[in-house]
Amino acid sequence: MQRNNNQNTDQREEPVPGMQQLLDNPFLLLLLGVLFPTVLYTVWGIIEVISIPTVTQ
């Protein structure tokens, strides 16, 4: 990684920044877009519901 400095750095070959790579990758975005709400909303929410105690007499 550090050794590619002496390559011809034409604009076309400039490395694409990580964030742009993420935003250009529909399937990675799909994964995140399903994973985040599934874990934070659905799974956490269902755990909350399951852990409601049963009433005692």
């Binding site: 604009q11 694409v16 920044p17 964030m19 105690p53 009433v55």
Partner: protein, 178 residues
């Protein structure tokens, strides 16, 4: 043009407009204030919904409500003789929602605290106390416990604000505060 690919192949490194940066900072600060307001109100506010709830069954809840009503009924009201219950200050008070009434009628004392248990024995109902305007979702099989301190005297209606069938609009209950 938003309907064409970005003008630069590497657009992530393009400079951002000054007003965009300013607005993002202002908006982010406001977002954090909005967020922090909720925990703040949990500590300093007086109106918070308790997380205390239990899984129950309609039969069990109905039995508890009936037992309370038998012990503390002071009179009955309306053609259908709905009991008016005056529970002891600080006690556990049961309010039952069913098609299509809130049962029984409660009589509470002003500025006294009660543990109000609410549940439904059939479908979902909405507890909407008017005109003070407190709204809770009531589910069958779940007993919600709200510690409540009426600080206004008068006659309050409990409107059902969750659709519960064709008689939904006739579903009312009552709380007197003396």
């Amino acid at each position: 043009m938003s309907i064409m690919p970005p003008a630069q192949k590497i657009w992530w490194k393009e400079p951002i407009h000054g007003i965009e940066i300013m607005w993002i900072i202002i908006a982010l600060i406001w977002c954090l204030i909005l967020f922090l307001w909720m925990p703040y109100w949990h500590v300093y506010g007086k109106q918070n919904l308790s997380n205390e709830s239990y899984k129950t069954s309609p039969e069990l809840f109905e039995a508890k409500a009936t037992k309370m009503a038998k012990a503390h009924t002071v009179r009955t009201e309306s053609k259908s003789n709905i009991p008016v219950v005056h529970p002891p200050v600080g006690s556990d008070v049961y309010l039952l929602g069913r098609m299509w009434q809130w049962w029984p009628i409660l009589e509470l004392e002003k500025n006294k605290t009660y543990r109000l248990h609410i549940s439904s024995v059939d479908w979902q109902h909405g507890f909407s106390l008017q005109p003070t305007n407190i709204n809770l979702q009531i589910l069958p099989g779940y007993e919600m416990v709200v510690t409540i301190t009426p600080d206004q005297a008068g006659e309050f209606a409990i409107v059902c604000n969750e659709y519960c069938g064709v008689g939904h609009h006739t579903m009312l209950g009552k709380i007197y505060v003396k």
